[in-house]
């Protein structure tokens, strides 16, 4: 901890869930525990690190966990692809700032692919 940058905040933990088939993109895992350090490390490499840790950062980090040929089933030009609903603590992310929403410790994020079948 001696080398910790003074600007660096404590790391936070986020629970990410996948529903509606999206779990198949993530090795059939229904949920992942994500630490903010992992996201920040990815952002540093991309040289896109900003002060805040936003939903969009999480989405782009998650896309790196997907096989390259399936990535367009999750993201489309660095944004979430159409047809995926996101819940932040069981509430539609549209009510919570969407991609600009700043991640908080212990937040629960759920990605749901909409279903069209019947």
């Amino acid at each position: 901890m001696v080398n910790m940058e003074p600007s660096m905040k404590e790391s936070i933990n986020i629970k990410v869930e996948f529903k509606g088939g999206l779990e198949m993109l993530f090795d059939n895992k229904l949920s992942l525990d994500i630490n903010s350090k992992d996201i920040e490390e990815y952002l540093k490499k991309q040289e896109t690190k900003t002060e805040k840790l936003r939903m969009l950062d999480l989405i782009n980090y998650l896309s790196t966990l997907i096989k390259p040929n399936e990535r367009d089933l999750f993201v489309d030009d660095k944004r979430l692809r159409a047809g995926i609903l996101v819940l932040i603590n069981d509430t539609d992310w549209e009510l919570e700032g969407e991609g600009e929403h700043e991640l908080e410790d212990k937040e629960s994020i759920c990605f749901i692919s909409t279903l069209h079948g019947g």
């Binding site: 529903k19 509606g20 088939g21 198949m24 993109l25 229904l30 040929n69 399936e70 367009d72 089933l73 489309d76 692809r81 159409a82 047809g83 995926i84 609903l85 819940l87 069981d90 509430t91 539609d92 549209e94 009510l95 759920c110 749901i112 692919s113 909409t114 279903l115 069209h116 079948g117 019947g118």
Partner: protein, 309 residues
């Protein structure tokens, strides 16, 4: 049939006595159900239980549209011609389900040319379809005609249920302004995993009481229980809309997941978007468009190409 002053016939009072005795339904609710008409788009896994339960609840008129139903003429005959059929138990069976409910059968494909006329004839619409093009089509028709839309879906082991275009809530486009890429719609990765001759189209029969539905798609993978549950819950949404109790709920979506515990999760969703192209304050869509083109896949759930998901 003797019609009582309360608006119900003796047969209806006898038939619905159980729920007439419940204050939340009562005569008022039963009369509202009787006077209501519901269009169900799709007679597959969702449409079968929702139509069966809506008729059992006492909805006065149900429209059922599905071009893909091999036995639709069968349903038609069973419903309309019950009294003249041979075999007492069959007559009984059909009568019990439907005699107090008028059923309109549309053995056709819902599309931009006929949707406005068909949808305009009903109070509430149930989306029990199986592809994005039809879902956007139904949504736009419901917004343009100001009809509440109960939308259910079921794929694999997941189900979703929302009421759109109702009481300040969103429409389907408010939630999903852009259609999904067509490669994300089809889910064929496991086709053939069994190592038995399943590479060609497989004919699946969905059995449900009098409704025998045939489907040509091998890609509509699900366990029949998931659309069964969602279909019942679609009927419940309709009853709540017709009797008025739905008005107390905020906009929400019910998620069902076989793999998760607990299975049900209710989530709060956005309100109507002021910038929605169809239900917003300055809509740019004022008539139905070409939905297969908009979605990149047709009304038959056939994608332009199949990819892995």
């Amino acid at each position: 049939q003797i019609l009582q002053a309360n608006g119900l016939t003796n047969a209806e009072i006898k038939r619905f006595s159980r729920q007439l005795l419940i204050p939340e339904i009562a005569v008022e609710g039963q009369v509202a159900l009787k006077n209501a008409s519901v269009l169900i788009v799709g007679a597959g896994g969702l449409g079968s239980p929702s139509s069966l339960y809506l008729s059992a609840m006492g909805i006065g008129r149900i429209g059922l549209i599905d071009h893909d139903v091999v036995d639709i003429s069968n349903i038609h005959r069973q419903v309309i011609h019950t009294e003249s059929r041979v075999g007492v138990s069959k007559v009984e069976s059909a009568r019990n389900v439907n005699s107090l409910c008028k059923i309109d059968i549309y053995d056709t494909l819902l599309d931009s040319a006929n949707a406005m006329e068909i949808v305009s004839g009903y109070d509430v619409v149930v989306d029990a379809s199986d592809n994005p093009a039809t879902r956007y089509l139904i949504n736009d028709a419901c917004v343009l005609l100001n009809k509440p839309l109960v939308s259910g879906s079921a794929v694999r082991l997941d189900g979703q249920l929302t009421t759109y275009n109702y009481n300040g809530g969103p429409c389907y486009r408010c939630m999903f302004p852009k259609p999904p890429p067509s490669n994300a719609v089809m889910n064929c990765s496991e086709t053939g995993v069994l190592g038995i001759g399943m590479s060609s189209m497989i004919h699946n029969t969905i059995p449900f009481g009098n409704f025998n539905v045939f489907s040509k798609e091998s890609n509509k993978k699900t366990i029949i229980l998931v659309p069964g549950i969602i279909g019942c819950l679609e009927a419940l949404e309709v009853v709540k809309i017709v009797t008025g109790s739905k008005a107390n709920e905020p906009p929400n979506m019910l998620l069902f997941s076989y793999k998760s515990y607990p299975h049900f999760r209710n989530v709060k969703i956005r309100s109507r978007r002021k910038d929605c192209v169809v239900c917003g304050d300055s809509p740019t869509i004022s008539e139905l468009i070409d939905y297969p083109q908009f979605c990149g896949s047709g009304y038959n759930d056939k994608p332009t190409q199949w990819k892995i998901l």
